[in-house]
């Protein structure tokens, strides 16, 4: 009962948000959050459920973004068609990607995917004639207001999470997890491990590509360093899932929320809290602290990663019981 209630309330709240909150800035952050829900969940189905830890998801994100951008720039294809095509092209890129990486296991898979992700960035940079190189692609955004983008992102996030949930609870999902747990055993149970790894990758690439295409449409500008960034997408996708909880349906969503909020917290010096305190008290210490906090946001990320891996290896959702237990032990029991 309670479970169903949450499932209804959360989307409803999210859907009504643009009407309740008039801040475009807040909506923008929510759009980024929803985008990360999609990317994190996509990464999670491949890595968290199928056990293939990809360090190259920027490839799919970037390919999706470039598909939408190039189609619009050269053929004036509507960005919304571009979005669907972005997902599909990302999926197609996934095929050679899988062919190269899937014969490899564990850390070697990770390395190969990293190399491919980086390789595609270099290619996009060098293939100036086709991609516009580092000068990037700039298009005029379709909408002047945030709300449509917000709803599209929301739709994308809800669809991707729900579809992934549906898949996880059906045959392919069982097969994915079997592959994650033991490839040899899985094969002996009649699971075509290569095929199902590729299916998992395709789903993952599709949604990531869609997210990339939405990014293109929303941001209006991309270049290879932006959308193929190892750190900003490949690694960040991992962190989002890890922080939230690998191999859980809603973990990446929680992780996305934490990461986006965390970044903005630090970037703005806790939303100007320290600046405000600095002005209110006239103490230069707060101003200095504010500066330090702003400076340190990537450092904060790094420390967050280390702390999470050491103490919450299954993420906030995966280790929620542990968090609860520890918090309660400290509080009422004293």
């Amino acid at each position: 009962m309670k479970k169903n209630l949450y499932q209804l309330i959360l989307p409803a709240v999210l859907a009504l948000l643009p009407m309740a909150v008039k801040s475009e800035y807040f909506l923008h952050l929510m759009i980024l959050f929803l985008l990360w829900v999609v990317i994190g969940s996509s990464w999670n189905i491949l890595a968290g459920y199928t056990g293939q830890v990809s360090f190259g998801h920027a490839a799919f994100f970037g390919v999706g973004a470039y598909t939408a951008g190039l189609l619009f720039q050269h053929l004036q294809v509507s960005p919304w068609w571009g979005m669907a095509l972005g997902g599909i092209v990302a999926m197609l890129i996934g095929l050679p990607f899988g062919a190269i990486c899937f014969p490899l296991r564990g850390a070697y898979f990770a390395l190969a995917s990293l190399a491919l992700g980086e390789g595609i960035r270099h290619i996009a940079t060098v293939a100036e004639g086709f991609t516009g190189g580092m000068m990037g692609i700039m298009i005029m955004p379709t909408f002047t207001s945030k709300a449509p983008y917000y709803y599209i992102a929301l739709g994308l996030a809800v669809l991707s999470v729900l579809s992934i949930r549906a898949i996880i609870n059906s045959k392919p999902g069982y097969y994915f997890v079997s592959i994650r747990e033991d490839q040899d055993a899985a094969a002996s149970l009649g699971i075509d491990t290569t095929l199902y790894k590729n299916i998992s990758l395709s789903i993952s690439a599709f949604w990531t590509g869609m997210a990339g295409a939405l990014y293109m449409n929303y941001m209006g500008f991309i270049d290879p360093n932006v959308v193929f960034s190892l750190h900003d997408y490949s690694v960040m996708a991992i962190l989002v899932a890890i922080v939230g909880g690998v191999g859980t349906i809603y973990g990446p969503a929680v992780g996305a929320f934490i990461m986006v909020a965390f970044q903005e917290f630090f970037r703005t010096g806790f939303f100007g809290l320290f600046d405000y305190l600095g002005k209110a008290t006239g103490s230069p210490a707060f101003t200095a602290l504010s500066g330090a906090v702003r400076q340190a946001h990537v450092l904060g990320f790094g420390i967050l990663v280390i702390v999470v891996i050491l103490y919450l290896p299954n993420g906030v959702v995966g280790d929620w019981e542990k968090i609860k237990r520890n918090v309660f032990r400290i509080n009422p029991a004293g």
Partner: protein, 290 residues
């Protein structure tokens, strides 16, 4: 012909330095089977150490003897307090250690940025842009020195691994951890020492690179990538392989730059990497058994 020879020399000299970066990585990967995505960042840190010492008037080649022990200690601390505890942690992804090194790399980079800002730092020495000529071919003095030192470090490392009990224990741990424990090897300590050694070696590479290059916080990433390529090319845990891998990568980059175009430099490296992963798992080591 001159173009070819000059390219060859450039590639080999650069390869010596790469080899030194690679040995540290190959040790760490070979012994512990973990991928250290913070390897280049450790080198970056060593370069800052060199830089700071240089502002105090210490020559980069002298600072080798300060940076190496410092980074050794840092490596020891990282392995002991951050990586070893992970072995006991139960998670879905065995790649947690890799992710941990990502976090460590981020922290190292940002700490460097915090302290030194994003500015490019550089070290000026009397010999940094000296050259000598053999025929028409120029040799950069600094790179040549780096090459010689890199080779001697590799030789020393080779001797250490082959002829000392500690070196043997490291190799034994890499080959069979439990059996090594039964022989009285404290494998926990060995992994710590190995990570320290790997860090010290890449620190040496940093000190040698500092006079010919420049220093900035984001420098680590590309060198981590190079270290992988070298390790995979040479084969895990193989010092000789690391030299081979380093020189091969150096040559491939130089030849690629001359005959394909310099913008393909990284693509060439990555292509070799993937080809070796797919078609020669085990790398050079598998061909020669050393």
């Amino acid at each position: 012909m001159d173009v070819f020879l000059q390219t060859l020399v450039a590639g080999i000299l650069k390869g010596g330095l790469y080899a030194l970066i690679g040995i540290g990585m190959t040790l760490i990967m070979g012994v512990m089977g973990i991928i250290n995505l913070a390897h280049g960042q450790l080198m970056m840190l060593a370069m800052y150490v060199t830089f700071v010492l240089n502002t105090m008037g210490v020559d980069p080649y002298v600072s080798l003897f300060i940076a190496m022990p410092l980074l050794f200690m840092l490596g020891v601390a990282i392995q002991k307090f951050l990586l070893n505890p992970l072995m006991k942690v139960e998670t879905i992804l065995p790649e947690n250690q890799v992710l941990m090194t990502v976090g460590i790399g981020m922290v190292l980079t940002e700490v460097a940025r915090f302290v030194f800002s994003s500015d490019y730092k550089y070290i000026t020495t009397g010999y940094a842009d000296r050259t000598f000529y053999i025929g028409n071919i120029s040799f950069s003095v600094a790179l040549t020195i780096a090459f010689v030192i890199a080779l001697s470090f590799t030789a020393a490392m080779f001797w250490f691994l082959l002829k000392t009990d500690l070196g043997r224990s490291i190799r034994a741990t890499a080959q069979d951890k439990d059996a090594a424990t039964l022989m009285g090897v404290n494998t926990g300590r060995i992994t710590v020492i190995t990570f320290g050694l790997g860090s010290a070696l890449v620190a040496a590479a940093g000190c040698l690179l500092a006079p010919v290059y420049y220093i900035f916080p984001d420098l680590g990433g590309p060198f981590t990538a190079k270290a992988f390529i070298i390790t995979i090319l040479g084969g895990l845990g193989s010092t000789v392989g690391a030299i081979f891998g380093g020189v091969t990568l150096g040559l491939a980059e130089s030849m690629g730059a001359t005959y394909f175009g310099m913008e393909y430099e990284d693509i060439v490296g990555l292509t070799i990497f993937i080809l070796v992963l797919l078609f020669l798992p085990g790398g050079f080591k598998r061909l020669t058994k050393v």
